[in-house]
Assembly symmetry: C2
Homo-oligomer: 467 residues x 2
């Protein structure tokens, strides 16, 4: 194991730490590890049949990476801002990595890496989009429209509004140069625009779904525009992919993560808190929340039986949420598993001066540092939870860079499909979101969706229950 | 009811919409409403005995408001940036209101209201705090240190680092003018600094806890600095406070909210999703998450019996999270109640041009607007969830301004203490966070906490379970 490798610390999941009622006892661990014989065979088949497209992304051919990088270089020459028009899996990955590396204040304060400022406009909210279109200098702004199918209503609407504005500001020809489409290489309604109308474009591999797409052009183009090292991101992911090929549960970090999450879920812990002790990793926790929720929240299993399962992810931040959520985590129902993410090295530090040695509440801090404090808090919180029989695991990153992010991203993707296999559901589809989309089409007057408008009127109870 | 009043729509909680298994049937509603005879009497006693200090904040005396406003005016004359050093209840309220009114891009793009830029540094993370201290022009920056007790480690550490930097940049005298302390008027370790060292200061009412303090100086000073109308905020809160005095459950929006949340919680829905269909209200959802989690997540009831109860709040955003969490909400376990927040009027809109009438996925959007789209999505999602037996309620705001925010803030605070009374627990304390704090003191070498350092070593299993 290299010093730059992510470590998974699961001590506070075990019966050794939590006792037999709450912890995973050795016998239970043996039973769990046996179920991975089936899981491993299924994932192996999935990889061979090309269903797990994300698994191959760390080995993206050099020619494809060159296309992404040269597109990024072209945009960086044209503009200072890149607005991503995409939602869900087309938005969360780029936000996660850019926030991690350039910080939560990246839009207003100097960033750590030189590149375009990334604005991810992942909502159909007119307040948010108006302030963006009116606040940015459109002459120094490019757009990346990301939708695999091209039919996402929010993105399609924003695309038309943005194109219209760009044409007014720059003329039709220059507007087209500023608007890159990332979409399916063949299917979908954005592809004809790319081919017939001459928009620059990049492909999303057909066998990579939105929430598994951050290491494809979906995430890589915006991240390259923002100045991040996409080769290092893929290299970290590739090293983790190799670790996640181990057949043994106890040697495979993805299997271990999946085993613990599923076992605690089966024993009543229907909530999984993802809680990095790094403000800049809140975006990563939100990215994970989509991955876990949409992949594992399913009505039917693979046999077609109704199961209605799925563990609810919650994004939190340490130490901040010790002052918001910890009271509930310590004393509430035994309904949670917590996954911490910690840094061995924060990459910078601030010494705390001894200004008030006469005040008890301040004296002990003098001469220590903020990194020491947050690391002590992470350790203390995990221990306090364990003391109350509350399980947690920790993903320990050596430091926060592209390589480490690639590792943690791949680990969580692999853990998600392993958990899906363990639960016997399909972690790659999302049938449950269709009804809401169709009702929206009905309300917006899309031809062919009249019956859904009627269905909505039937469901509407008017003002009878309004206070 | 005035046209500017918040409406609570609970149709999709009823058996009329969801059927008898999932919905609240009429008989059950009658039983619930009877339990509010006791709840109302308890809250009435709490108000009379001065335990519910937040209830009086809308009637803050004019002299106190003048002190806050003149402090804000002074700071606005000195600086462009206000950094809040506070965490949890000292941070979340100001962030919620400033984000709501100035938008998620408020740090980099033009804001809707003229005032200081607010940076809320609510973590002991050296990465976040270094980028802030090095990125801001300290000569144009003021600080508001907020801690009722003064003993919060994160805030105390940041305070000493910031004061040291300010003194280096501006000299000791000018540094003191830039650093306002908001703390207990008598007790706590920041108070002697204010009195002896001459820092300007404002009081937190002793009977107002952190998570209920946004309408005190804790929230009002930063919000006045940022240019928001704090009188309108309090006026909206005051109108809602009057509505929340009604003894009848069905006439009192706080009681109705509490009744529904508690009833669904008792029937297995241990997750409450707060999901505004407004990007700028994500901060409000996070503020609510602290309020609900820390108030209701309790090990013991008022009789001292072990109950380990509490519903876990989740902050989400529509339409964004339709592409992240909706799959789980539609198909996962019946373990959630969802509270939407919607706007009747977004205050701005963007028309969608008809650029591609030949493309099915785009044609229907042409000529409609982004506000129409997001409103259709909110309606469609609530209906789709109801179709699957999934309960939701909606807080409908007429528009997004200080008055509406005051209403929704007060409603949720009143609902929280009503839920606490209904559950028979104390919604005002937070005993569960002490152990983690003491273990941190032990690790940081604070005198008197050696035994906690030893306890932590006992809990540590070292490298035995690390992969």
């Amino acid at each position: 194991m290299a010093p730059t490798d992510l470590r998974l610390d699961y001590a506070y999941c075990t019966a050794d730490a939590l006792g037999g009622v709450h912890g995973v006892a050795r016998q239970r661990a043996v039973e769990l590890s046996q179920s991975f014989i089936r899981v491993h065979a299924e994932l192996e088949r999935g990889r061979q049949e090309g269903r797990l497209g994300f698994w191959e992304l760390p080995q993206t051919p050099a020619a494809e990476l060159t296309a992404i990088k040269s597109q990024a270089e072209r945009l960086r020459g044209l503009a200072d801002n890149l607005v991503v028009l995409g939602i869900g899996g087309s938005a969360l990955g780029a936000t996660a990595v850019d926030m991690a590396l350039n910080g939560i204040w990246r839009h207003s304060l100097p960033r750590r890496q030189d590149g375009m400022r990334l604005y991810v406009a992942d909502n159909s909210d007119p307040r948010m989009f108006t302030s963006l279109l009116e606040g940015l200098d459109l002459k120094r702004t490019a757009f990346n429209v990301i939708s695999k199918s091209g039919s996402t209503a929010e993105t399609a609407a924003q695309f038309m509004v943005a194109l219209d504005r760009l044409e007014q500001a720059l003329g039709p020809e220059e507007a087209r140069r500023r608007l890159v489409l990332t979409t399916d290489p063949v299917a979908g309604s954005l592809r004809p625009l790319a081919t017939l109308q001459g928009f620059p474009s990049l492909p999303v591999p057909p066998n990579v779904g939105g929430r598994y797409s951050v290491l494809s052009a979906v995430g890589l183009l915006p991240l390259a525009c923002a100045g991040h090292d996409i080769d290092a991101l893929l290299a970290g992911a590739g090293r983790m992919a190799a670790r996640c090929l181990a057949p043994e549960m106890t040697a495979n970090p993805a299997y271990l993560f999946a085993a613990l999450a599923v076992d605690f879920w089966r024993r009543g812990r229907n909530i999984l808190v993802m809680m990095p002790y790094v403000s800049d990793l809140f975006g990563l926790a939100q990215w994970f929340a989509q991955l876990w929720a949409e992949s594992l929240g399913k009505a039917l299993n693979l046999k077609g039986e109704t199961v209605n399962l799925g563990q609810t992810p919650v994004a939190a931040v340490g130490a901040t949420d010790q002052h918001s959520q910890l009271q509930l985590y310590m004393e509430g129902p035994h309904d949670k598993l917590i996954c911490f993410i910690t840094l061995d090295n924060y990459g910078c530090d601030l010494e705390i001066p001894s200004l008030y040695p006469e005040l008890d509440a301040m004296a002990y801090l003098g001469g220590r540092s903020l990194a020491e404090l947050i690391q002590a808090e992470a350790k203390a919180t995990a221990a306090a939870l364990a003391d109350q029989g509350r399980p947690s695991l920790s993903l320990r990153l050596p430091l926060l860079d592209e390589d480490a992010l690639g590792q943690v991203i791949f680990l969580l993707e692999a853990a998600t499909v392993a958990a899906g296999a363990l639960l016997g559901i399909d972690p790659l589809d999302q049938p449950g979101v269709e009804l809401s989309k169709k009702l929206t089409y009905g309300l917006m007057g899309r031809p062919g969706f009249d019956s859904f408008r009627q269905r909505l009127e039937e469901l509407d109870l008017g003002q009878r229950f309004v206070l």
